[in-house]
């Protein structure tokens, strides 16, 4: 890709805020979030869609942001981990992750939270197997999987009360 890097203008809404950007056509949504917008909560690991560290929500659906070109996100509404808390208050899932011990090093956590959030949007009352399957694309090398299940299920239950 010698020479001038091609760019295109895009307009995206990130965590409720409208952004107009000029992005390199080969840059992924992950690149743009982390570098252009300095939203570094979304993590970078495998870059091939296998680890889930870069998971965000695009128009309500879960996406590995390392696999989506930023230009493909033009016009979309994007939610990242930074957008979960409201007015300085953790959302129930974030709180449950803390309470249930679903966080160790924390590097996979943003991706886990976004995947779990998307799962609960789609299926507000999942059973364990559904949580397991819904989070199958999110690796946690620290191995907090059982605590993550517990956190997600506790939020689902609280929601049903």
């Amino acid at each position: 890709m010698s020479g001038v890097i091609k760019t295109l203008p895009i307009e995206i809404t990130v965590n409720g805020r409208r952004r107009t950007l000029e992005v390199a056509v080969h840059h992924t949504l992950l690149d743009v979030l982390r570098e252009d917008l300095e939203l570094t909560g979304t993590k970078e690991c495998c870059l091939v869609g296998e680890c889930g560290a870069c998971t965000v929500m695009v128009d309500g659906r879960i996406v590995d942001s390392c696999l989506m070109l930023a230009v493909e996100a033009d016009g979309a509404e994007i939610l990242t981990v930074e957008g979960l808390a409201r007015d300085g208050h953790l959302n129930p899932l974030q709180q449950a992750f803390l309470d249930k011990g679903a966080v160790q090093c924390g590097f996979c956590t943003p991706g886990q939270l976004m995947a779990a959030q998307a799962l609960l949007v789609e299926n507000p009352h999942p059973n364990v197997a559904e949580v397991q399957e819904g989070l199958a694309g999110n690796l946690c090398r620290c191995g907090c999987y059982y605590q993550i299940f517990e956190a997600v299920l506790s939020v689902a239950e609280a929601g049903s009360r």
Binding site: M1, S2, I5, A24, R34, E38, L39, T40, G41, T42, K43, E44, C45, C46, L47, V48, E50, C51, A53, T80, V81, E82, L84, A85, L90, Q94, Q95, F97, L98, D99, G101, V103, Q104, C105, G106, F107, C108, T109, P110, L113, V131, Q132, E133, L135, A136, G137, N138, L139, C140, R141, C142, G143, C144, Y145, Y146, Q147, I148, F149
Partner: protein
């Protein structure tokens, strides 16, 4: 007075940053003017570098620096925690696939990548060795230049070092049954979800280096030496690692990035890809031959263990892994005669390094499996044979080391109970049980500073790295307990050698014990100052006052610490400062350079079901019981225990590097190298602790973060053995490997009984 948090599960200190995306890892650090770097590597393991042409790369707009060996001091500076054998950048020859030959730094990642692509390297592939057999061949090319090891008779071979541990007389030992087998353990990689990342920046006539490193002070020493700077001019900033597991203990590419930053006169950041991270750290593959002698009543007569570890092209800490990992190879048993012979064997592969369990899981896999074999031959139940040999508290089970430091029988019996040992099994199911032991730290030095601020809140300075194990939380709990401060009024400062006092390292599950004791001492010093204050304020003798766990006891009454602090500090306010130090000196005559501060003892028991059609193993129940002395934070202990167990299932069931004939890792990256996901978990995981407050740490704690990984492989393979009748001695137990073994076996095995006592 707040309720004690010791033994409960307060939320992780630093947890809010982690769930809100605000925790700053190295790749997230914002620095003005930082250049982004990319490495140039070759597409084979060992090559002679003929020439490097950087001219085209230098023309790329935005490229600010292209650096090769020619731009570094001559002779090439070398470093390493054990041997100074690793060059800052490959010089003349590369020795493993992925070893950098040049680094390009540019205004953007795009430009750096483009520059790296345009560095033209002319090279010639050279013969190389990637396996134990090839490395040990008398005609094998030498991995290391013999001049790096002057006067070493092994320097003309690929054996870096030999380790011997012996007691008793094997030749004279009487055994009724001798079982001999060879086991293998593959190369696996850490796969921390955070790939390794480094930044260096010129700073205050010296250098500042950010690294997701476990041992910042060791890195500081290495950089100071390489750059010829005083320690005070080398500032290592170590943001919490996003997982480390041993892979981030020692310097890797920090020196290279530091030289690049100095040359560029600007900050330089290098974030490795996951593929490059795989090429940077791994566990040593091992081949272990075990000859175990038993008497007819199932007592161990001797253990004769020979372990060859395939280490990489540079030593890193690998040889220490070999020595320390093989050392407790005979297990937590009373064995009258033991011979352990372990070798570190160099190869043209990624330098192997520390990895959770530190060389122990390899030998444990073999020795525990062999005990099962003996039990079968003797017709003794596999749990029973362990009970007959297990060291009891105080037994000098390793004659020249710390005696058995726990009630290990309790651990073993509890795990057996939890797996329902001896109960009838469903068809296709089997159970396994195994014990793991690891020697804790042999030396240590941890300083800490605790400041009790005027309002009773607390700042702790401790140089441990919190890589997920939760060290911050533990130190905060200790200070909360001792100084009566609420947990959320405690700040724990780590990860900056310019601010935080020295800590030797974060490894060997040491921090709760060594740094924990240091923090405890710093708190005691503050308590002593409070006592002096109280005596002054109340006009009584100090000897009549005690300060304990946040409470000041005067004759006839109790005060909260704050009630003394406030008037004691007076109008000007201020603070009280306490310093702590834990020192564990080594012993030059000890085979490991020091006796164990504690042992990590774990029992893992597994019930597995094997699909005879596919060879697929599912873990029906996984039980892990660790003797932790005292669980200061119950939930964190459980998380470390389960995390270690799941990681152990990785190397047991699925993980291994596959090399091609030129020494390239074929399954490089997350698509082809699989680690446990949510879909690979045991149907049930149960983690328990044994707590007799008999550890050397605060409140009787012992270290515990590695134990549950040690014997997963042996327990799982034993369950597979019982389920199917086949003994597999090579890891991982992939469906293909199991399926092949089943094909060879023919027929069907366990139809619903269990084979304890089978002869």
């Amino acid at each position: 007075m707040s309720a004690s948090s010791i033994g409960s599960s307060p939320n992780r200190v630093g947890g809010i940053g982690r769930v809100s995306g605000l925790q700053e890892y190295v790749a997230d650090v914002r620095l003005a003017g930082v250049l982004e770097a990319k490495l140039v590597t070759l597409d084979c393991a060992r090559a002679k570098i003929i020439s490097i042409d950087t001219s085209e790369a230098e023309q790329v707009p935005g490229v600010r620096l292209v650096m090769t060996a020619a731009d570094l001091p001559q002779p090439m500076p070398r470093f390493g925690p054990q041997l100074e054998d690793r060059p800052v950048i490959a010089v003349d020859e590369t020795k493993y696939h992925g070893e950098p030959v040049a680094i390009v730094a540019a205004d953007t990642k795009d430009a750096a990548e483009e520059g790296a692509r345009l560095v033209h390297v002319e090279y010639e592939e050279l013969p190389a060795v990637f396996t134990l057999a090839a490395a040990l061949d008398p005609d094998a090319p030498l991995v290391q230049d013999p001049s790096l090891r002057p006067k070493d008779p092994l320097a003309s071979t690929n054996v870096l070092r030999e380790h011997h541990v012996d007691w008793g007389d094997i030749e004279a030992a009487h055994a009724d049954v001798v079982v001999e087998n060879t086991y293998s353990f593959p190369i696996v990689t850490h796969f921390a979800i955070e790939p390794h990342a480094f930044i260096a920046a010129p700073d205050d006539n010296g250098i500042a280096v950010w690294s997701s490193i476990q041992h910042p002070y060791w890195l500081q020493r290495i950089l100071a030496k390489l750059l010829d700077l005083p320690l005070s001019k080398v500032r290592v900033l170590a943001p919490d690692p996003g997982g480390a597991f041993g892979g981030k203990q020692h310097a890797k590419y920090e020196p290279l990035v530091a030289f690049a930053a100095i040359r560029a006169g600007r900050p330089v950041r290098l974030v490795l890809s996951l593929e490059q991270t795989f090429q940077a750290v791994r566990r040593a593959a091992t081949e272990i031959r075990v000859r175990t002698g038993f008497t007819i009543d199932g007592k161990l007569a001797f253990q004769d263990i020979k372990a060859d570890y395939l280490i990489g092209a540079y030593c890193d800490i690998a040889d220490r892994v070999v020595g320390k990992g093989s050392y407790p190879g005979a297990g937590p048993y009373n064995v009258p005669a033991v011979r352990i012979f372990a070798r570190s064997i160099l190869s043209h592969t990624t330098p192997s390094t520390a990895f959770r369990g530190f060389g122990n899981p390899q030998v444990n896999w073999a020795v525990e499996s062999n005990i099962d074999e003996g039990a079968r031959v003797l017709g003794i139940d596999r749990l029973e044979i362990r009970l007959r040999n297990l060291a009891r508290k105080g037994d000098p089970f390793i004659p020249f080391d710390t005696p058995a430091d726990g009630d290990w029988e309790q651990t073993l019996r509890r795990a057996a109970e939890m797996i329902e040992w001896g109960k009838p099994l469903a068809p296709g199911h089997g159970r396994g049980i195994a014990l793991g032991i690891k020697s804790g730290p042999t030396t240590g030095l941890s300083y800490s500073t605790v400041r009790l601020l005027a309002d009773g809140s607390v700042a702790i300075y401790a140089g441990t790295s919190d890589m997920g194990q939760g060290a911050r939380t533990i130190f905060a709990q200790i200070a909360a307990e001792e100084l009566g401060a609420p947990l959320d009024a405690i700040r724990v400062v780590m990860g900056d050698t310019a601010i935080v006092p020295y800590d030797q390292q974060t490894s060997a599950s040491r921090s709760t014990v060594l740094m924990g004791n240091s923090v405890l001492k710093a708190c005691s010093s503050i308590q002593a100052q409070i006592r002096t204050m109280a005596a002054r304020l109340h006009g009584i003798d100090e000897s009549a006052i005690t300060v304990e766990r946040g409470v000041v006891r005067l004759p006839g009454r109790e005060l909260r610490l704050m009630e003394v602090l406030k008037p004691g500090l007076g109008k000007l306010g201020g603070e009280l400062i306490g310093n702590g130090e834990t020192r564990k000196d080594g012993d030059a005559d000890h085979p490991l350079g020091g006796a164990a501060a504690f042992f990590e003892l774990n029992c893992t028991a597994v019930e597995a079901e094997v699909d005879e059609g596919t060879g697929d193993i599912s873990i029906v129940r996984h039980v892990t019981v660790s003797d932790v002395g005292t669980a200061i934070n119950r939930l964190q202990v459980q998380m470390q225990d389960e995390g270690a167990a799941i990681m152990g299932l990785g190397h047991t069931l699925m993980e291994h590097f596959i090399y091609d004939e030129t020494g390239r890792i074929r399954n490089l990256g997350a698509i082809d190298y699989r680690i446990p996901t949510t879909m690979d978990l045991p149907l049930e995981m149960r983690s328990e602790t044994i707590e007799n407050a008999d550890g050397p740490g605060p409140y009787g704690a012992k270290g515990m973060s590695e134990g549950a990984l040690l014997c997963v492989a042996a327990a799982t393979a034993a369950a597979v053995r019982e389920a199917t009748g086949v003994a597999i001695r090579d890891l991982p137990l992939t469906p293909e490997r199991v399926w092949r073994a089943l094909r060879e076996r023919g027929g069907r095995a366990n139809a619903g009984t269990n084979d304890d006592g089978e002869s």
